[in-house]
């Protein structure tokens, strides 16, 4: 396994933003790599995470489980009703990945950007 490559970068929006440039397929064999890398970053102090999915060719429900888990690690304050996460956002999902995001309703709860600067500035 180990088929996922995650390059970690730092950007400055209104707040510091940790950017994960993810490359590879996120499936049941690899999703824990993403989850573990996020837990490691959060443990080290990351409070805002931008997941760049531009090089992800495939993402199944395991990938969404990882993102769900990351969102809950970062969204510690409880807010009633419908709202989008302020601390985890997605960049550049392509093709089937973008379609499945909609099918699973994640677009209602996560902001999705196609421009990295705009995404970073949104934090």
């Amino acid at each position: 396994m180990g088929a996922l490559s995650i390059l970690v970068g730092q950007e400055q929006g209104h707040a510091p933003v940790t950017v994960f440039e993810i490359e590879g397929d996120i499936d049941a064999a690899t999703y824990t790599e993403l989850q573990d890398k996020a837990a490691e970053a959060i443990e080290a102090g990351a409070a805002n995470l931008l997941l760049d999915l531009g090089q992800v060719e495939y993402m199944g429900s395991a990938g969404f489980r990882a993102i769900h888990s990351i969102a809950n690690m970062l969204n510690t304050e409880q807010k009633p009703g419908m709202h989008k996460s302020e601390h985890v956002k997605l960049l550049n999902p392509k093709g089937e990945v973008a379609r499945v995001i909609e099918t699973l309703g994640f677009d209602s709860f996560l902001e999705i950007y196609d421009d990295r600067n705009a995404a970073v500035a949104s934090f």
């Binding site: 396994m1 088929a3 064999a29 089937e96």
Partner: protein, 142 residues
């Protein structure tokens, strides 16, 4: 003419990518459009992941996948020798609930049902399970 594609693999998560490639090659050979092929890769990946993680769990077994065209319809049959699986036991995810309130899991079976015209889970006499998936009208007429 009926065209058949078959693959038999061990229940190893490391085989998921090869299984998706097999479905992509079979679907593309049959002339199925790219979006439908992508949906079928996802559906089969979800089904096989469930078999490996929850069916066979801590032991290894075989998974047999058969893709067949029947006129304009496409069927995929996935068989295992794992413990009995009942799709009715899997709670449907509440997609309108916030991520904080939403339970983990259930998305795989949801996607399997959502992205196919029929998805029938049934036990195989003598042990194991069979999942039969149907997509209607996706194979172009020759």
């Amino acid at each position: 003419m009926v065209q058949v594609f078959e693959l038999s693999v061990e229940s190893d998560l490391g085989n998921l990518k090869a299984i998706r490639s097999f479905i992509k090659e079979a679907g593309t050979s049959l002339g199925v459009d790219a979006n439908t092929v992508a949906d079928l890769c996802l559906v089969v990946d979800e089904a096989v992941s469930n078999i490996i993680l929850h069916g066979y769990a801590d032991h290894v077994g075989r998974i047999d996948i058969r893709v067949a065209s029947n006129r304009q319809d496409l069927t995929i049959r996935i068989r295992d020798q794992a413990r009995k699986f009942d799709a009715d036991d899997v709670e449907t995810p509440h997609l309108d609930e916030s991520l904080q309130d939403r339970a983990y899991g259930g998305m795989g079976v949801y996607l399997i049902k959502k992205l196919t015209d029929e998805a029938e889970f049934k036990p195989v006499p003598g042990g194991g399970n069979e999942l039969r998936l149907l997509k209607r009208g996706v194979v172009p007429a020759k």
